[in-house]
């Protein structure tokens, strides 16, 4: 039977190509993702294996803990005295303190230079002991005086900076200080640390500029010969016992860094891409299932002949499945090769010179995923093939008008309702801290999609009748197209299901982004009374100097600093926001359900949003314990409960309450108003003038802020469009596939129509209309399911401040129109084939 499979496969190259396309596209995405993440990981590991080789032991600050032992994921700075104690430990060859803080910007002519994407650089002190440093100069010298800086090679290239050049350096938007570039360096041979730039200073400069206040972030220790890393770690640990600091061997520290890096890569790149790859493969599986169904239907006579000749049902099943598996393996291999090309392209696109890492695991995973999906998708059609009676070999194949088995309807309903129940359950029982159970959520959505796909054939007739109605005005082509779309509801439904999934996901994301935007706008119009705001590009924190500068401007008033800090409330890691109480009523208008916002002016008093209050069982007058990153534990009284919105939620305190517990005072935003009698426009101009010394900051009016948020959300939406575009392409290929096979199947009928006087143009139009009806069916189902998903998700976020549910009607109409256009595009090739049917061969019986 293997021979039959192979022959069958090779004799239908078109069929092979069409089925394979779906698998290839899906596997390309999977393989591309795997190769890309492997490459990033490999590069990172390569860098890490090159760095800190001489570090035998690393000391880090203590981590504040709650009474029950939960740690805040932030290390306290190490006092300078710790370094002296480490240096005295026997077996220590050298120990150096390192100040290491993010937030450095290089400025030139009032502009940020050398940065990538406005991201701040890492600032460090230069370590001259090459055993303990991974920075290598590529030109120039190490910083020797207070005004010298060494920058990373990527920054030098990006900013066209050279040794000897004058430059200004600012840390978190503090006043810029003049520096001279004394050298250019690499880190472990790389032009930057992953994508982050760095600037190296002398230790005193680093301490003052980075506001380390006589502390270090890390102490690196090298060992004398004959002392193992483990021995030294234990000696250092015992020397520092009781201080709570963390002591690790260099290897432990490196593997921790590597672990974190790998987790980051997976979290920010790998997992999202794999989710999209999964969507692509899932959508593709519909296409594969559909193709095999049509093929089995068309091969009825051939398979019946095999049965008549004595093949068992098992052999027929094996024959179809083997063909599927062969197709799967071949297509997966092609997809894998394409995936490598895609990964290579993406790496070049971001300007990286990383060497592509193609692991056997990626190959195995890709081929397994592609093949298994193909085999699973082909299993149902193969089972149907086993039910073909041998006598069918003798019958003229007749296009069947299928009914729907009850079992199918029952399964569909079960999956759809079960999925809906699971979705609602996972969304609405989610707590603020744990979030929804993602695996339940994912399976539920999967269930909804599968259920809809199973039930869709029921909807084909009514929907095709409605959608086909305008087509009827186009005479015979439109009329016949409507009939063709309805003649095999399962085929039409399965074909449109692929588009349904793609569009449903796009629609759901569009509903969510639109709702978030509407909620933020509502918050800006309702809660935020300030007319102007200052934020850092790249959402960094900035120095209070900025607020002082603005306060000095007579055209501005109510200059109000907003400051945040990580905090543990009880055992929950969250954050607390400090507000300027002197003018809070002119900056914010909280809608209080209990107590008053003014209560925070009293020391150690907090107000909390109603959702948090409900989940944590907090009431007016309750007492909560906050553990700050510096280790302070403070008991706060709840002075009020407010309704959260899209911008403000969580614990709010006064700046006076917050400041004593912060290591450095940094603002996240500054809100302000025009002085009385000054227009918003001229106040804005004045503010921008004040901010000219801080190019890393943006001063915005309320409208500009809304536009900025809207632009950010649109960028996100566009990214989703691009990623889901692949699913749409697969869906379009699916329509091409179905139509091409249908045209093949209807050769005689098409020939008859042509003989009866249907022109080629009319024939093409007929196929195009059928395609449009299939696409619109997918669009209607997709928009409905997607809007439902989106609304459910948004509703579950109501208590978190996403109070508005916005369904972007224009977008949805656009998607439907786009789907119809995709339908027309998908019909081009099958329509041309249909119009070229050889009339004579179609109508003669011989």
């Amino acid at each position: 039977m293997f021979k039959v499979s192979l022959r069958s496969l090779l004799s239908h190259k078109l069929r092979l190509a069409l089925t394979a396309t779906a698998i290839i596209l899906g596997v390309t995405f999977v393989a591309g993702t795997l190769v890309l993440t492997d490459t990033i990981r490999n590069t990172f590991e390569g860098v890490l294996s090159n760095v800190d080789k001489g570090v035998a032991v690393q000391v880090k600050g203590a981590t504040p803990a709650t009474p029950s032992g939960r740690l805040l994921n932030q290390n306290l700075p190490l006092p300078e005295s710790v370094l002296a104690r480490v240096q005295k430990v026997s077996g220590v060859a050298d120990a150096v303190g390192v100040v290491e803080r993010s937030g450095v910007s290089l400025l030139q002519n009032g502009q940020v230079v050398g940065a990538t994407d406005h991201a701040a650089m890492l600032g460090l002190n230069w370590v001259s002991d090459s055993q303990l440093s991974s920075f290598e100069l590529t030109s120039g010298t190490a910083p020797r005086s207070a005004d010298e800086v060494v920058i990373n090679a990527r920054a030098a290239t990006n900013g066209h900076l050279a040794v000897g050049q004058q430059i200004q350096v600012s840390f978190e938007a503090s006043a810029a200080q003049p520096f001279v570039i004394s050298g250019i360096a690499t880190f472990g041979g790389q032009a930057s640390i992953a994508t982050e730039g760095f600037a190296l200073f002398t230790l005193p400069t680093a301490e003052s500029l980075l506001e380390a206040n006589n502390t270090f972030d890390v102490i690196d220790v090298s060992a004398q010969s004959g002392v193992t890393d483990l021995q030294l770690r234990d000696r250092v640990a015992s020397a520092l016992s009781g201080t709570g600091v963390q002591v690790q061997t260099g290897a432990q520290a490196a593997s921790e860094t590597e672990q974190n890096a790998v987790t980051d890569i997976n979290e920010f790149i790998g997992t999202p891409l794999l989710v999209f790859a999964f969507v692509a493969v899932f959508v593709g599986s519909f296409l594969i299932a559909n193709t095999f169904s049509i093929l089995v239907a068309q091969r009825t006579q051939e398979l019946a002949l095999l049965r008549a000749l004595g093949a068992t049902r098992g052999q027929v099943f094996t024959e179809v499945i083997t063909e599927a598996a062969l197709t799967g393996v071949l297509a997966s291999l092609v997809g894998f090769l394409l995936g490598i090309l895609v990964a290579d392209g993406l790496i070049h696109l971001v300007g990286s010179s990383a060497k592509l890492s193609v692991q056997p695991d990626a190959l195995i995973t890709s081929v397994l995923v592609g093949t298994i999906i193909t085999v699973i998708a082909a299993a149902l059609p193969a089972r149907r093939a086993t039910r073909i009676a041998p006598v069918a070999a003798l019958r003229e194949a007749q296009p069947e008008f299928q009914g729907l088995p009850r079992v199918r309807i029952a399964c569909g309903l079960l999956l759809f309702l079960g999925g809906t129940a699971g979705l609602l359950q996972s969304l609405f029982t989610a707590t603020a801290t744990s979030g929804p159970n993602l695996s339940v959520l994912g399976l539920s959505v999967l269930g909804i999609f599968l259920g809809t796909a199973l039930l869709a054939p029921i909807l084909v007739r009514p929907v095709a009748t409605v959608l086909g109605w305008p087509a009827r005005f186009r005479g015979a082509p439109g009329r016949l197209a409507g009939e063709n779309a309805r003649r095999n509801p399962r085929r039409t439904a399965l074909t449109s299901a692929a588009l349904m999934i793609g569009l449903a996901l796009v629609t759901a994301v569009a509903v969510i982004t639109d709702s978030v935007e509407a909620s933020i706008n509502q918050a800006l119009d309702g809660t935020v009374k300030a007319q102007l705001v200052v934020i850092a590009e790249g959402s960094g924190a900035f120095s209070p100097e900025v607020a002082s500068t603005l306060r000095a401007d007579p055209r501005l008033t109510d200059v109000s600093e907003i400051r945040g800090s990580d905090v543990l409330v009880g055992d929950i890691e969250t954050n607390v926001i400090g507000l300027d109480t002197s003018n809070v009523s002119r900056i914010f208008s909280f809608s209080m359900t209990q107590g008053s916002a003014a209560s925070i002016a009293t020391g150690d008093t907090t107000i909390v949003d109603s959702t948090e209050a409900a989940t944590e069982n907090i009431h007016l007058g309750s007492v909560v314990t906050m553990t700050f990153p510096n280790g302070d534990k403070v008991t706060m009284t709840v002075g009020g409960i407010y309704t959260p919105d899209a911008l403000i939620s969580g614990y709010l305190v006064s700046l006076g309450t917050l400041n004593p517990h912060l290591t450095t005072a940094r603002d996240s935003d500054v809100a302000l108003n025009p002085a009385p009698g000054v227009s918003v426009a001229s106040a804005d101009a004045s503010m921008l003038n004040d901010l000219r010394a801080y190019p890393q900051l943006s001063g915005l009016t309320k409208t500009q802020y809304k536009n900025l948020i809207s632009a950010g959300l649109n960028t996100f939406l566009n990214l989703i469009y691009v990623l889901l575009g692949l699913a749409i392409i697969i869906a379009v290929v699916g329509i091409v596939n179905t139509l091409a096979l249908s045209v093949l199947e209807r050769t005689r009928e098409l020939g008859l129509l042509r003989a009866l006087g249907m022109t080629r143009g009319q024939t093409r139009e007929m196929v195009a209309w059928e395609s449009v009806i299939i696409a619109l069916l997918g669009a209607v189902l997709g928009l409905a399911v997607g809007a439902g998903l989106g609304i459910a998700l948004v509703s579950s976020l109501h208590s978190d401040g996403i109070s508005q549910t916005a369904v972007p009607g224009n977008n949805l109409i656009l998607y439907a129109v786009a789907a119809a256009l995709f339908g027309i595009i998908a019909s081009i090739f099958p329509a041309i084939r249909a119009s070229r049917v050889d009339i004579l061969r179609a109508v003669t019986s011989e």
Binding site: L480, E483, R486, E749, L756, M758, V843, T844, S845
Partner: protein, 262 residues
Amino acid sequence: MSVSQTAPGPPPPPAPPAPELVPIAARTVGAVKVYGRGETAVRALDGISADFVSHQFTAIMGASGSGKSTLLHCLAGLDRLTSGQTFIAGYELGRLTDRQLTLLRREKVGFIFQSLNLVPTLNALDNIVLPLTIAGRKPEPGVVEGVVQMTGLADRLKHRPGELSGGQQQRVAAARALVSRPEIIFADEPTGNLDSKAGGELLAFLRKAVDTLGQTIVIVTHDPFAASHADRVIFLADGRVVQEMRSPTADSILAVVRHLGD
């Protein structure tokens, strides 16, 4: 009904047809059709000239490979000649583009094929009016009803082809050929897949269409009984016309067939 109503229709006849004593619906002059090339070339039609008189029922007979089906396809504008000319309603088919030929088929020609004549998604009535639907025309009042009455299918009009017997299907196909009142109807072995009773009914129907509606019909058949319904029989062998017979009977046809078979 004039072809020029459907723009862009076929061009006007290259040369006005010479006045005929009897009106001619279709004509072929020196028709040659060669399949293949060189040594494997087969002359399916080897210089056939024939006229098909309007309002007449003509049968084309011949053994397998005699070229009878090829002649029908070329006459009907489904296939093109290698050399020679064919005319329908005065138009020379060889000079028409594919689109013009399509429109000519739509306006001037009716078809009945051996099997799978109907569009499976449409019911009987929709199949009958399909040529009109394709042309975007409304049937003339009474025509459809009249034709349906003749077929005796009035109670089966809402049925799909799959729910009709083979004989009923062929009668639907015949009604469809009639409904646009074409210049000429071509039928390729229309009774080939029918039992003798259903075949007889269909032939009686075609005969009636010629007698009462003045329809012109050309059928290809190898069945002497079927051919005996015609006004005239043309016998083909090896791509040539070898004999003609008027007012045939089944026996006289059988005699010729036997003779040609020798």
